[in-house]
Amino acid sequence: MKINKLSLLALLGVFILNSCSNDDDNLEPLPEGDYTDGFFVTNEGMFEGRGTVSFISDDLQTSDIDVYSTVNPSESDLGQFVQSIFFDEDNAYVISNGSNYITVVDRYTFEYIGVIDSELSIPRYGEVVNGKAYVTNQGDFSTGADDYVVVIDLETLTVENTLIIGNKIDKLEEEDGLIYIQGSAFNDGNSINVLDPTSNSITTTYTTEGSLNSFDIEDGFIYALTRKDVEGTDPLEKVAYLEKIDLATGNRSTQIVFSQATSVAKNLTIEDDTIYYMIGTSVYKIALSTSEEPLQDLLTFSGNLAYGFDVEDDRIFIAQGTFDSDSFVEIYSTNGSLLKNITVGLGPNGFYFN
């Protein structure tokens, strides 16, 4: 009886909502699906296992540790080491860098659509520009010379072009129609390659002074966290730099020289003219123009390894690097207070927002 009442209420609810949106024909149809309001967490999974994707609702009240299996119980899995997700308007593309394929799902329902599984070799990250996907590939680990970007036709889910970049590559970011590729992997490399999707060629390569950890672009400038070893120290100390590159002139300047340490600044991300980064398990927050190292951290993560980090819509997201059991993520407000700790899959490494 209870169930019937609830079902009725749910039906009515849908009816009412539908009527509301039907009232106004000018409104874009809202995306429909269980995963419309919330974000995904990519989980690498065990070495011998499969990666997974967890979903957490925007209000942080509901979550699903393995949303792909929930929706698609009979499809083949997401592959070994789920590395990242990229989106276009309708779809989410889930990259498995151990299995060399990309699973295509509806970004709002997570229903399986198809798979891209040729010409990928250790794929890492992707971006969609003008209806084409650009995905970085590392190929042979021992060298950057063969690292390449594939251009994928998203209509046919096939690779239509392969662009050898020639140095180690990793994350990429679209800005004003150009693709900025992090020319380093695991802190090895010191370039940012700019790919022009209209010509499918590298038009500019910026170099950083230290080896590149992470970068972001804001108001015509690249902000990059880099590092250098301090010779003669044991244990080895490093010094981190905040470098700033003017996209218009290519001029490079050092904005902050951090104090040296065994563990240095990493994971730079810019949100609302504020730079966020981490040292060890601490999060720091500085204004875009600051040239001083902050004295105080904003918050300290409760885990022992911050493996994934992001800032979005006034919230800070940190994933704990646990690789022998299911792990957790923590969500903080941008003033540093903990909002929620939520269980996710094994080896969570990134956040992707719907």
């Binding site: 011998e48 394929y101 599984d117 070799s121 059991s325």
Partner: protein, 599 residues
């Protein structure tokens, strides 16, 4: 074929004087424990790779990444590097990771494989914590001229050829073994997939040569070459294909000399361990590791009295290792051991052992072993043994580029066991209970900078039961039955969290049954492995299901003196769908035929 199993303790064994085993300590210093010996007839009933033989016949649990792929043991609930593997008494665990991959051993190279549960570091050095596995070449000093050719062909184009040649007189002895095993290994998965890129091949050549110079002096040489290449199977077709090559040689020269009440054995050994890993077959590049180990050993035993023996063993081990992420490093370890064995009465004996190592590499703990056996009647005897053992940090642990930790301590184990043996006519039952506390376990963990480094982290406590049953019976002089079974119950838990270690089943059972009638021979094998955890928090959502696998073989002997045996085998006749590692299916029902020819 005879039963093939032999449970030995010194009490029950009357070794033939004519058969020489260079790993004599296994027989002489195993007071207080059971040694399970698999003879060549058991070896012929299994695949050529050591994993398969031990999995179906001993309590050791194996984690195998698909048939023939990387395989690591868990013996009495310990980790992969806590089982020592001895080749003719020489420790051959890898210098790089401290383990032996049990699918890189071709059993056709040996005529006897023994397994001993419990610590053995006093005699066998690093890694003998859960137990030890002994690969032996015996030499027979008697008039002998024997060829044996065993050929086997089966599903997935699996070829297995083993040839042995034994030649002997009362003065000298030759034991030569040549063995080759290859397979396309392209079996189907239960979910419709296929085992892609899983092909492997290996060749092993082993020779033992002994010469008695005179009554007091003899010289022996043992040598082995193993050459193997394995492709690592893919779970999904688009994955990056990889392969692994091993080229290992092992060489041992020994001179035994007796004078008065002393016997001395001087041994020189040279081991060459060389691997190449091709991380992407689309490219030529590979990573490698190579370790050359030179061992000099002086073993002196003194019969103080008829029933009391003292034994000192001095060993110097020098290793030069290099590898892609390791640079080149030398290490030298000097070890001194003192052993004593005393038959106090006809029904009671005990032994003591001590060992201490000197090396600049790690802080070496003082090791000991004490064991005793008491016979209460012809039916019943009790054993006790206690020991302190260790596993030293490996080359990878110490020297891995920007991650190695030079301050690591050895893993240490303090353990005790008590065993009861019941003998009634042809029935033998042994039950051993043990407790093992392992501290300073070396684990690779990610630091806050994301770099994985080895640290002495966990403490593990392990306790359990190990049991073996052997029985044979002949009816009307024609029908011969035999049964060999083992059962292991294992609790192995992280002391801090209380959780069972991953990939350690609570239960494992093996059973082998033989029936012989005239020239007909049949054999049934069963293996049961209980559920295992795959997550450190024992989240049962991710457990691997228990499985039961059965094999059946039948053979018939032809020829005037029954010198040919022709037979066939059904492996996994239940067609069980099983995996011992997450996502790594093992083959379903498959078939082999064999020919065994003796001359």
């Amino acid at each position: 074929m005879c039963a093939g199993f032999l449970y030995s303790q010194e009490r029950t064994v009357t070794p033939l004087d004519s058969v020489y085993l260079t790993d004599s300590k296994l027989k002489e210093y195993s007071t207080g424990r059971d040694v399970l010996t698999l003879s060549d007839s058991i070896l012929y009933q299994n695949r050529a790779l050591l994993t398969n033989t031990l999995n179906f016949n001993t309590p050791i649990y194996f984690k195998e990444n698909g048939l023939g792929m990387v395989s690591s043991p868990s013996f009495r609930g310990t980790t992969a590097s806590q089982t020592a593997v001895l080749w003719n008494g020489i420790n051959i665990n890898s210098q790089f990771n401290g383990q032996l991959d049990f699918n890189t051993i071709n059993t056709g190279a040996y005529n006897e494989i023994s397994v001993r549960g419990g610590g053995g570091s006093v005699v066998y050095g690093t890694g003998a914590i859960g137990g030890s596995v002994h690969l032996n070449t015996t030499l027979s000093f008697e008039k002998l001229h024997e060829h044996n050719l065993f050929l086997q062909y089966g599903s997935y184009t699996t070829r297995d050829a083993r040839y042995t040649f034994k030649l002997g007189t009362d003065q000298w002895s030759l034991n030569l073994a040549l063995s080759r095993n290859s397979s396309d290994n392209d079996y189907e998965y239960p979910n419709g997939g296929e085992n892609l890129n899983g092909q492997f091949e290996n060749t092993a050549f082993n020779v033992g040569l002994g010469f008695k110079i005179n009554d007091k002096n003899s010289i022996r040489i043992f040598s082995e070459l193993f050459d193997g290449e394995r492709h690592f199977s893919l779970i999904r077709a688009s994955e990056t294909a990889t392969k692994y090559q091993d080229l290992n040689s092992k060489n041992l020269l020994e001179w035994e000399s007796s004078f008065g009440d002393f016997i001395s054995v001087t041994r020189l050994a040279y081991l060459d361990e060389h691997y190449k890993y091709f991380g992407n077959l689309n490219y030529d590049s590979f990573t490698f590791g190579r370790a050359k180990t030179f061992i000099a050993k002086y073993d002196l035993s003194y019969s103080v009295l008829d029933n009391l023996t003292l034994n000192t063993v001095l060993t110097n081990t020098n290793t030069t290792g290099e590898g892609s992420s390791l640079g080149e490093n030398d290490r030298n370890i000097f070890a001194a051991a003192l052993l004593m064995k005393h038959q106090l009465a006809s029904d009671f004996k005990y032994e003591l052992g001590f060992r201490k190592e000197a090396t600049a590499n790690y802080d070496s703990p003082f090791l000991f072993s004490v064991g005793a056996t008491k016979d209460f009647s012809d039916f019943f005897s009790l054993n006790v043994n206690a020991s302190r053992n260790f596993r030293i940090p490996t080359y990878n642990d110490l020297y891995w580029s920007s991650a190695g930790n030079p301050d690591l301590l050895p893993e240490k184990s303090l353990q005790g066991q008590i065993g009861a043996v019941f003998n009634y006519r042809s029935l033998r039952l042994n039950i051993t209970g043990y407790y093992n506390s392992v501290t300073d376990m070396i684990r690779w963990l990610p630091g806050s900078d994301g770099v994985w480094r080895p640290v002495n982290e966990d403490e593990v406590q392990i306790y359990g039961l190990e049991s073996g049953l052997n029985w044979f019976k002949t009816f009307k002089n024609k029908h011969r039955f035999s049964l060999n079974a083992t059962y292991a119950y294992t609790i192995s838990e992280n002391k801090e969290t209380g959780y069972q270690l991953i990939y350690v089943p609570f239960h494992k059972v093996t059973a082998g049954m033989n029936y012989n009638y005239k020239r007909l021979h049949t054999n049934l094998q069963f293996l049961y492995v209980g559920e295992v955890f795959t997550r450190s928090d024992n989240n049962s959502r991710y457990n691997l299901d228990p499985y039961t696998v059965g094999n059946f073989s039948m053979g018939y002997r032809f020829g005037k003196s029954e010198q040919f045996e022709l037979g066939g085998r059904i492996n996994n006749f239940f067609d069980a769908e099983y995996q011992s590692v997450e996502n790594r299916w093992m083959p379903g029902r498959n078939f082999t035929m064999y020919l065994n020819f003796k001359l």
